[in-house]
């Protein structure tokens, strides 16, 4: 008998300078993390417009995670500080509207933290899997 296990779709926005390299390191170190994580490379975490997060949910993501350099280590000096304020407010608003706050996360991952990247992704995927499908912020037009 075939069992249809729920596999969440996770979108990870990773900054080019730290987190994307961190993901690369996780790969070269042969650390496992679920294939459900789809990485989108962005120049900086502050490139992530709040609209991107909503758009990801619209197109069927079950969770969105934004990874950037640690505060103070931004390649562009201050980008992640702005991203931090912006995303805090956006997540708070999503929570206010009753959308599960566990579906969104910001994590700082440096280029040397391959292990942290893998651990973060494992943990996030587990959290979202537990939550199940994204029903509250889905766009039926985008469903297959």
């Amino acid at each position: 008998m075939q069992v249809n296990e729920f596999k969440p779709k996770i979108v990870a926005f990773c900054c080019n300078w730290c987190s994307y390299a961190g993901a690369d390191l996780a790969g070269t170190n042969r650390l496992n993390y679920p294939a459900d994580v789809k990485i989108i490379r962005v120049p900086c975490s502050c490139r992530v417009n709040p609209l991107f997060v909503l758009r990801a949910f619209q197109r069927g993501a079950d969770g969105v995670i934004i990874c950037g350099c640690h505060p103070g280590d931004c390649h562009y000096t201050t980008g992640n500080y702005y991203a931090r304020r912006r995303m805090t407010l956006l997540f708070s608003m999503l929570d206010y509207l009753g959308i599960e706050k566990e579906r969104t996360r910001v994590e700082w991952v440096s280029a040397a933290e391959g292990a942290k990247f893998a651990a973060t992704m494992n943990d996030f995927v587990a959290t979202v899997t537990k939550l199940g499908e994204n029903k509250r912020l889905e766009d039926l037009r985008c469903k297959k």
């Binding site: 912006r86 407010l89 956006l90």
Partner: protein, 321 residues
Amino acid sequence: MQEVMKNKAKELLASGEVRAVIGWKKGEFCYDITPAVFTNAEEIDNGFIYDDFCGANLSKYLIKEAHKDGKVLVFLKPCDTYSFNQLLSEHRINREKVYVVGVSCDGKVDIEKIKRTVGDGIIALSSDGDKISVETLYDKYEINRADALAERCVNCKSKKHVAYDELLGDEGEVLDSKRFDEVEMIENMTADERFEFWRNELSRCIRCNACRNVCPACSCEKCIFDNDNSGYVNKAPVTSFEENMFHIIRAFHVAGRCTDCGECSRVCPQGIPLHLLNRKFIKDINTLYGDYQAGEDPEARGPLTSYTEKDPEPSVVTDKE
């Protein structure tokens, strides 16, 4: 008050100091007061009005009017002056081309609240101190003015003008308002209750864009909501996602710049409490990044265009119980 304002406007028009006057005039109904531009004394004599229904915030009209030749006179209520300052700080208005006359305000009346008591068919309204007499096609009523005040005026944040060239009437104080109480009430609900609450409110949205059009902070020439190819929005909301999306984006685009003038809720034909979304952002900014009132100081840097190294991590939101 109305006569004093009329005289002031006529005086400045006659002396040639201003080219036009932005004020209010009567609309289709006696309670339907709309913003208007007056250019001569005759128009002012015939049309100019200042009463309990002049809720409209005139600061946004300055963006277009102050780009024309000559100076413009504008009447601003205390809460409108915050929007004015905010527009100044965003370089949307040339301060030298505007003559601001601050007018005192003792709260504006929400016609929907009156209609809830008296029903339809209102033909005449007059307010006298604490009472409002309403005449409908069927009957006469007397209503306490306090019961008919608009929500934003019940929780008025300030009676103080933060910008003016001249003041008519008395200057007030910044008030200690209870405007965040309702936000707190919603925050204290469970996530499911909040979701239900907002579904109930936002599903009424007909995407008329009135909230965007009236908002002094929403003054972009090109707006994402006008771009049909953006993929974000259609002309009418077809799914619940789009309703959520529209309102999240609208509120986010004015986050840190919203002065909480309450115009969005006033103009919403569906009675959606949009100010509760804006106030949520204001409340979060106040608690996370320190008290900030947009428009109070035109030189101040907005909370979303600045940062400190010690800002709380987004996990304060995502990890809270």
